[in-house]
């Protein structure tokens, strides 16, 4: 009756289920709801969500936008100071267009992520604390605007973590966060 190799006989559907197995089922359902509920609620109440508007843009359009943006920004020793709250970052084989960039701490920026040629991975971490790292995919044709507020000043390092061709290993960039003006 209970061999997995034999057809079960009789009314196997109504066979009693062990009490402990029933409890486990209850725990399982409960845990599944916690997993779902927390993930879902965090998109509303949490501060770390991979969420932002996406626009369909061609590589030429993004390059043109990047040109205007760089002209309007201020070039310093440490990198570009953006003209406003928008920060443009374009990934290409094997460079990060728009980096290095100099930002202020505690100010919210709209980070525009884009890939010019093939897919790349935007992988960023503060140089001092490697465990504080996040990763976002960039796909040609899609401009993804993800708001970010860096609260700690320092140098942030950007690596490419999507294989983008022979040479991928050398693709890195820098983002400098300075104390805000207050």
């Amino acid at each position: 009756m209970t061999s997995p190799l034999k057809p079960p006989e009789g009314n196997w559907w109504d066979q009693p289920v062990d009490r402990r197995e029933t409890i486990w089922l209850g725990l399982g359902v409960g845990w599944a709801l916690v997993l779902f509920g927390w993930m879902s609620a965090f998109t509303r109440v949490g501060d770390q969500n991979p969420i932002g508007e996406t626009y369909r843009v061609s590589a030429e359009e993004f390059r043109a936008k990047m040109g205007e943006y760089q002209d309007a920004g201020e070039e310093t020793d440490e990198g570009l100071v953006p003209p406003g709250d928008d920060v443009l970052i374009g990934a290409g084989q094997f460079y990060w267009d728009g980096l290095p960039v100099v930002l202020e701490a505690d100010r919210q920026y709209d980070i525009h992520l884009f890939a010019y040629d093939v897919q790349h991975g935007f992988s960023i971490r503060p140089e001092e604390t490697l465990s504080k790292q996040i990763n976002l995919q960039t796909i040609p044709g899609y401009e993804w605007v993800v708001p970010m507020t860096f609260d700690e000043p320092g140098t942030y390092r950007v690596l490419c973590n999507e294989f983008c061709g022979d040479g991928h290993e050398a693709m890195h960039g820098r983002l400098v966060v300075r104390e805000g003006e207050q």
């Binding site: 009756m1 209970t2 061999s3 997995p4 034999k6 057809p7 079960p8 196997w12 559907w13 066979q15 289920v17 062990d18 402990r20 409890i23 486990w24 089922l25 399982g28 845990w31 599944a32 709801l33 997993l35 927390w38 993930m39 965090f42 998109t43 949490g46 501060d47 969500n49 991979p50 969420i51 508007e53 369909r56 093939v118 897919q119 992988s123 971490r125 140089e127 490697l130 465990s131 504080k132 790292q133 996040i134 990763n135 976002l136 796909i139 899609y142 993800v146 708001p147 970010m148 690596l159 973590n161 999507e162 294989f163 983008c164 061709g165 022979d166 991928h168 290993e169 050398a170 890195h172």
Partner: protein, 601 residues
């Protein structure tokens, strides 16, 4: 031996079991009526699979030798090619060839039928092998403008057109090879309309359906990419990602379900396990059928252009329906072992059923090691990284590689090694060249690979080490920045990985060695070392009678002694421990993510 002279066309005496005039023989271990047509095709797919495992294992050496940058074996360009060879050999070729064998075991063998349409099975085999060789050739001869495909071949990064063609061929071959399985079930159902399929066959059926869904996704992904590469079609890279992951993740779901089927099968045959509730276990398989194909979404969590609602709904398999199914099996399988062994008088105390288990038998030890390591390392991390926000920390880091080596290596590969052992013993009828080493192998491989996977996860999460790059820890070309803080953990990683590779090599040596040099088990004789002690080996051999495992297996047919009446408290405690580990790692991962700066709208 007289038998071999009777089968002159036989290769190395590997296909020479004796059958009655209808082509059947009774397996002395499982008691199944095995038809020659089924057995021979299972052997064919099973042995071929070991070849791909060997190839993939050889490339594991160069891959590890490069990622452990202290050794720094390969140049970057070579690295991507070697990594592609590793990924396709292992994840697709080794695993899928075993899976076809599992379908043939779960279907016709368990049902005691012959394999229908054997020509189609052979055609499927040849098409699959053709696909494999084409892919190997395409990867190995990659040259500009083409790039190594790695596993994913994300467009618009071009790979050789031959590569896409080979991938398409392989996928089509698998579908062809699966047809005889479905025809078997069709005929069985037509002949016995009122009868329920055995659990193992039912699970294999679910596996088959999920496989077909996944493989159709593969036809679109690889067929579309081929047309794109030949500049006949345009193909949006984001759309490719979705189609690719329908087959890419879909095949992982096949692995999962096939592996669970094997767990029910082997723990029953060699461990004396029973099904504690047909209703609950079958419901879990049905949950897989409905929900598991949403898994493709896991790979798109940090992609642009996909709505939040879609990502949450799909990554959670609609309220974690498929996760619940896995939690059910996580209880049902050990509970089956516990109750079955208690019923056979093998389980005193809380864990007596476990401590008395036949751990020296690799066909028992391997699946149980797989259940534990897959659950604790692969399953938990899969749910973690499948949460929308936590995925930001895991995506494309080395931790991802740690996760899927916990699933496809610690879970699937170890389980499938047990399948190969089982085929060698009960179908090729060969003893292992060394029982000692065969007992040791799953522990060596599982232990070392478990440590390797843990190190992968640590360096990925704690140091943000990316996957798929030959240089990042000791040196990043063109900058003074590097992730050198991760170096000590990479030493542990490298050493453990090489031990794991040795454990894998030991498996290949044992498998091939036993096929070629293993002592034959004469038909009708009981293979003592295979007798589960759930089957009372002592009784069987002490008085010279041929008590087979089968008699112990037959115990599970006793209507007056239902297994669900036996205690399952040991399993309950283990499951609570598992849930506790789950909750703790969940909280830790969330803690880490909330330490980050503000991200997202």
């Amino acid at each position: 031996m007289s038998t071999s002279s009777r089968h002159r066309l036989d290769v190395l005496g590997l296909f020479d079991n004796e059958y009655d005039e209808d082509g059947y023989r009774q397996c002395s271990v499982t008691g199944l009526d095995v038809h020659r047509s089924v057995e021979n095709h299972v052997k064919l797919f099973g042995v071929t699979a070991v070849v791909w495992l060997l190839v993939g294992g050889l490339f594991a050496i160069t891959v590890v030798g490069t990622r452990w940058e202290a050794i720094g074996l390969l140049s970057a360009s070579d690295y991507y090619i070697h990594l592609s060879m590793h990924a396709w050999s292992m994840l697709l070729f080794w695993i899928v060839f075993v899976e076809v064998a599992i379908l043939y075991v779960g279907g016709p063998m368990v049902l005691g039928r012959r394999l229908p349409l054997t020509k189609l099975a052979k055609a499927g085999y040849l098409v699959m092998v053709g696909g494999v060789l084409t892919i190997y050739y395409a990867i190995w001869t990659t040259s500009a403008p083409d790039q190594a495909p790695l596993l994913t071949a994300y467009i618009p990064l071009p790979s050789s057109p031959l590569f896409y063609a080979g991938a398409l061929t392989f996928v089509v071959g698998v579908v062809i090879a699966a047809v005889p399985f479905f025809v078997t079930l069709w005929r069985e159902k037509r002949e016995k309309p009122g009868e329920t399929l055995p659990l193992v066959t039912f699970g294999a059926f679910i596996t088959g359906i999920i496989a077909v869904e996944a493989l159709l996704g593969g036809v679109v992904a690889f067929g579309g990419a081929l047309l794109w590469r030949l500049e006949i079609l345009t193909f949006d890279p984001a759309a490719y990602r979705m189609w690719f992951w329908i087959v890419g993740h879909g095949t992982q779901q096949i692995n999962l379900v096939a592996m669970i089927v094997v767990w029910y099968f082997l723990t029953h045959v060699v461990g004396g396990a029973e099904v504690v509730s047909e209703k609950v276990s079958r419901t879990a398989f049905i949950l897989y059928l409905f929900f598991i194909n949403m898994g493709a979404a896991h790979h798109l969590l940090v992609d642009p252009g996909i709505s939040t609602g879609w990502r949450i709904w799909n990554t959670s398999y609609a309220f974690y329906g498929a996760t619940l199914a896995s939690l059910i099996h996580a209880f049902a399988i050990p509970a089956g072992i516990e109750a079955g062994r208690r019923k056979r008088g093998k389980g005193g105390g809380l864990f007596g059923w476990l401590t008395s288990a036949p751990w020296q038998n690799p066909m028992f030890a391997a699946p149980v090691i797989a259940i534990i390591l897959f659950g604790f390392l692969g399953g938990i991390t899969g749910v973690l990284m499948g949460q929308l926000q936590l995925n930001m920390a895991w995506h494309n880091t080395f931790a991802t590689v740690g996760h899927f080596h916990s699933t496809v290596v610690l879970g699937t590969t170890i389980t499938f090694m047990a399948v190969v052992y089982f085929v060698i013993r009960t179908m090729f009828m060969r003893r292992f060249v060394s029982n000692r080493l065969a007992s040791l192998q799953p522990f060596l491989y599982g232990g070392a690979m478990g440590l390797t996977a843990l190190m992968m996860m640590y360096v990925g999460i704690l140091y943000g080490v990316p996957r798929r790059t030959p240089e990042v820890v000791a040196n990043i070309p063109g900058t003074d920045f590097s992730l050198s803080a991760a170096e000590p953990l990479f030493v542990v990683f490298g050493l453990a990985a090489f031990v794991a590779i040795a454990g894998g090599a030991l498996f290949v040596v044992l498998a091939v060695g036993s096929l070629l040099f293993g002592e034959r088990i004469e038909p009708g004789r009981v293979d003592d070392s295979l007798l589960a002690d759930g089957g009372d080996a002592s009784l069987g051999f002490a008085d010279g009678t041929e008590l087979t495992t089968r008699e112990s297996i037959d115990l599970s047919q006793d209507p007056d002694d239902p297994v669900h009446a036996y205690e399952m408290r040991g399993t309950f405690v283990l499951c609570l421990l598992f849930l506790a580990a789950f909750v703790i790692t969940y909280i830790l991962n969330w803690y880490l993510i909330t330490q980050l700066w503000q991200i997202g709208a």
